[in-house]
């Protein structure tokens, strides 16, 4: 069975500092990994995905994520956080056999 874990409910960073939001996964087949962001009273917005190829994936708004097969991780990163990055972030995984499975989410707060 596939699963996703986001070990941190909350991440706090100061504006201008680098941020990391962690995600680990478990799948049967080859993983397809996604990050979404959710602002209050809004739907999920797609940030980036890993399908195959380069382990470092670059996405919207300066975010990137690194696929690490040995550690089964797909952590979301940004070199310099903005206050406007404050939101709820979801990691998701699927493979060719199963539908999308989401993590419980991590609330990112960027303080000025």
């Amino acid at each position: 069975a596939q699963s996703v874990a986001q070990p941190e409910d909350q991440v706090n960073v100061a504006e201008g500092n680098p941020l990391t939001v962690k995600c680990t996964y478990s799948v049967s087949g080859n993983p397809y990994l996604f990050w979404y962001v959710q602002y209050p009273n809004r739907g999920l917005q797609f940030l980036l995905k890993y399908i195959t190829g380069d382990n470092l994936v670059k996405g919207s708004y300066g975010f990137e994520a690194e696929f690490n097969k040995s550690q089964t991780s797909f952590h979301l990163k940004k070199p310099s956080a903005l206050v406007s990055d404050s939101a709820l972030y979801f990691c998701a995984v699927r493979d060719q056999y199963n539908d999308m499975r989401f993590g419980a989410g991590t609330r990112l707060t960027v303080k000025p």
């Binding site: 996703v4 397809y32 996604f34 979404y36 009273n41 809004r42 739907g43 999920l44 917005q45 797609f46 995905k49 399908i51 979801f90 998701a92 699927r94 493979d95 060719q96 539908d99 999308m100 499975r101 989401f102 993590g103 419980a104 989410g105």
Partner: protein, 116 residues
């Protein structure tokens, strides 16, 4: 349209009533998904459509839940005999192709359902 739209944005109903939630996917997207998001949790898969047919409905919690997509575009999620535990945000998403484990799903703003 420019994105996935869902109506109504909010729905309040009484226990035991019937509700319908509508989703209008991105034009040209052939796959459509329904999810349920409870407070403090990630979205939970309910059902997905490949064209007009339900390709996978394994996430529907029980037979009170049903969804249709008669013309392969707009979809309606129907909940009979609503219960307080059905209160959640119901999200719809669409993607470009039907065979798409790799395809990005684009989400609508959701319908917030409250069952009193």
């Amino acid at each position: 349209g420019a994105g996935v739209s869902q109506t109504p944005s909010n729905k309040v109903t009484e226990k035991g009533k019937y509700v319908e939630l509508r989703c209008d996917p991105i034009s040209g997207h052939t796959a459509l998904y329904w999810y349920r998001q409870s407070l403090g949790q990630g979205p939970e898969f309910l059902i997905y459509f490949q064209g007009t047919g339900a390709a996978d409905d394994s996430g529907l919690p029980n037979d009170r839940f049903f969804a249709v997509r008669p013309e392969g575009s707009v979809s309606t999620l129907k909940i009979q005999r609503t219960e307080r535990g059905d209160s959640a945000v119901y999200l719809c998403a669409s993607s470009l192709r039907t065979s798409g484990s790799r395809e990005t799903q684009y989400f609508g703003p959701g319908t917030r359902l409250l069952v009193l």
